[in-house]
């Protein structure tokens, strides 16, 4: 079974930043076909942007424009592209995250994968913002990258 997911830009940054040889379950799940990504211009721009920051590149000289483009092309092989991502959900305290939720909604994503606690807490049943989100996309689960494999195993 293939599930659909939105990986936020820090997930991709982690792929680049953590030590060589580290197994990244979020990459393996793409390669095995268990996860298909939802992608939009906003999210791709954010990923390109973070991988292009001077302070990041100062630590990683191999992170050139050409390599970033190759990384994004490789990433897009595992993604479905959504040209139109209407604004449907708004997180008032963190509006810059709205595009992730909107992409998850339009893409029918099963998972939003993120390290950010401000987003993860929306997965709690009692969270009012989470309740608003689930009214728009009842099946969306917000999970940390290291929990994604287990979440998939737990699915019926």
């Amino acid at each position: 079974m293939t599930y659909r997911a939105v990986y936020d830009s820090m997930v991709v940054f982690q792929w680049a930043a953590l030590p060589p040889g580290r197994e990244h379950a979020t990459i393996r799940l793409l390669q095995s076909g268990q996860i298909r990504l939802c992608m939009s211009a906003s999210l791709l721009g954010e990923i390109r942007g973070i991988l292009s920051r001077p302070a990041i590149r100062a630590k990683a000289p191999n992170l050139t424009d050409a390599r970033v483009s190759e990384i994004l092309q490789a990433l897009l092989k595992f993604a479905d592209w959504f040209d139109s991502v209407p604004q449907q959900f708004s997180l008032s305290l963190h509006p810059k995250d709205n595009h992730l939720f909107d992409l998850a909604i339009v893409g029918g994503a099963d998972f939003l994968v993120t390290f950010e606690n401000r987003l993860l807490k929306l997965d709690a049943a009692s969270n009012p913002d989470g309740q608003r989100l689930r009214a728009l996309t009842p099946s969306l689960k917000i999970v940390r990258p290291d929990r994604l494999s287990q979440e998939i195993l737990n699915r019926p």
């Binding site: 820090m10 060589p20 990459i27 302070a55 990041i56 630590k59 191999n62 992170l63 490789a74």
Partner: protein, 84 residues
């Protein structure tokens, strides 16, 4: 090398349409697709030199992730200031 492939009817239909759009036979089109697939670097291959750079930079994992978060926030603020 000669391969015999069994593909679902829907994929066959799309394959024929895409080969037609590219002005190629299905055989040529599939052969080029396969060549691209096996010669393109994987994500891990592309990321490996970058990972080595970060490892050599001397920051631990928490510091690297903090750097990423700070830069993401800075980028978002800059984009706001530009009205994007």
């Amino acid at each position: 090398m000669t391969l015999h492939l069994v593909v679902p009817a829907e994929i066959e239909q799309r394959l024929r349409a895409k080969a037609g759009e590219a002005g190629q036979s299905v055989d040529d089109y599939v052969s080029k697709l396969l060549a691209t697939a096996v010669t393109s670097p994987t994500l891990d291959e592309l990321l490996d030199p970058v990972r080595r750079d970060f490892a050599a930079a001397g920051l631990n994992e928490d510091q690297l992730m903090d750097l990423g978060r700070q830069e993401l926030e800075a980028m978002r603020k800059e984009n706001d200031a530009r009205g994007r």
